[in-house]
Symmetry: C2
Subunit: 232 residues, 2 copies
Amino acid sequence: MKQTAARERAVVLLSGGLDSATALAWASKEKQWDCYTIAFDYGQRHHVEIQASKQISQAFEAKKHQVIAVDLHAIGGSSLTSEQDVPKDQAETFAIPSTYVPARNLIFLSLASAFAETVGANKLVIGANIVDYSGYPDCRPEFLNSFAKTVALGTKAGVEGVGFEVVAPLLNLDKAEIIKLGLSLGVDYAMTRSCYDPDKDGQPCGHCDSCHFRMQGFAQLGQQDPLLSLVK
Amino acid sequence: MKQTAARERAVVLLSGGLDSATALAWASKEKQWDCYTIAFDYGQRHHVEIQASKQISQAFEAKKHQVIAVDLHAIGGSSLTSEQDVPKDQAETFAIPSTYVPARNLIFLSLASAFAETVGANKLVIGANIVDYSGYPDCRPEFLNSFAKTVALGTKAGVEGVGFEVVAPLLNLDKAEIIKLGLSLGVDYAMTRSCYDPDKDGQPCGHCDSCHFRMQGFAQLGQQDPLLSLVK
């Protein structure tokens, strides 16, 4: 009985962005898992996401919301955590962008694993998707599967027989499909924040890759992004 | 030429304890790698280790010493980062001890990978050894090898062809053998700190597992631990 109960618990990586909010909605509403949400305060420019993640966690009645501070700023190597400029209005490319943060999902999933072990969850839910994994290697399914194996080998719960699983429900969805799924599950996208370079009040810039993808997704559905009116 | 140079760079996880100091000495003196050291400020009780790690890094002329703050205290689940008592003078056991920090090496290796990617290193050196891996799953070779594969799949450097390697030079050595190796490489063990529960001045308790293992190691070599005189 205990194992069955444990199987229904999930830790959801909740950045406060559109993707992770949709992943939480899916885990919570569609799968009916007990969700524990985790957000990271990692010296990012878009700190407003952390406030958004708390609000979204509450909206989906997560059992617990945990914010973990981790100083990726000290490592550097990315325009998201350093003094480099975030690129604006650039042509589509399949190269790894300057917004890549070295080993970010590896670090976040590792911290989520520790949290999962503490709360007795064996599923790690992440909003990684095809839009991301063209550019970010740590969103690719090969990586996510390899990570799950590594966790099983390196944690107390894992060696005691709990099989860890990284669940990426949005993996094969494009932005419009993600938004469609989220709307069907009651996500209020006005709560979410996606911009890589918001102004000091947390309003989106409307010009970075992340803003572009988001606006295009809503446009494809013939919908208006509830954040669009906030754009400068 | 550039690739050859990159191959000689290593990130060494340097806790400030006896094992990691020996691992650094090995990487630096025996392998002649350019070493970049990383220490973690993770809400541990034995904060004095962080000062020790800086001193040891300088003694072995590491290229850079990076301290990363990561709030494992928020996750809890261990007597090292929570309000539980650290066990004292307990009988030897092969169970996973209460000092186990959930997914600690997974988290530390992940952060070290990010640092490695930033400085162009492809080796991660860790002082894991048989004394540890009887109890801590994240010191076992199966875990370390699986981790290296995961990093190769999840980092920009990895997908661009850099093969990551987790190097654990002490893996099959007992404490006495580790100390013997370190002494031959010029480690000054007076600089190192091992105690799980030092007093407020950073002096070792002499009664936790870590103090016991250390004292036994020196005794087997017929040597005196330079920290022994500090024990209450």
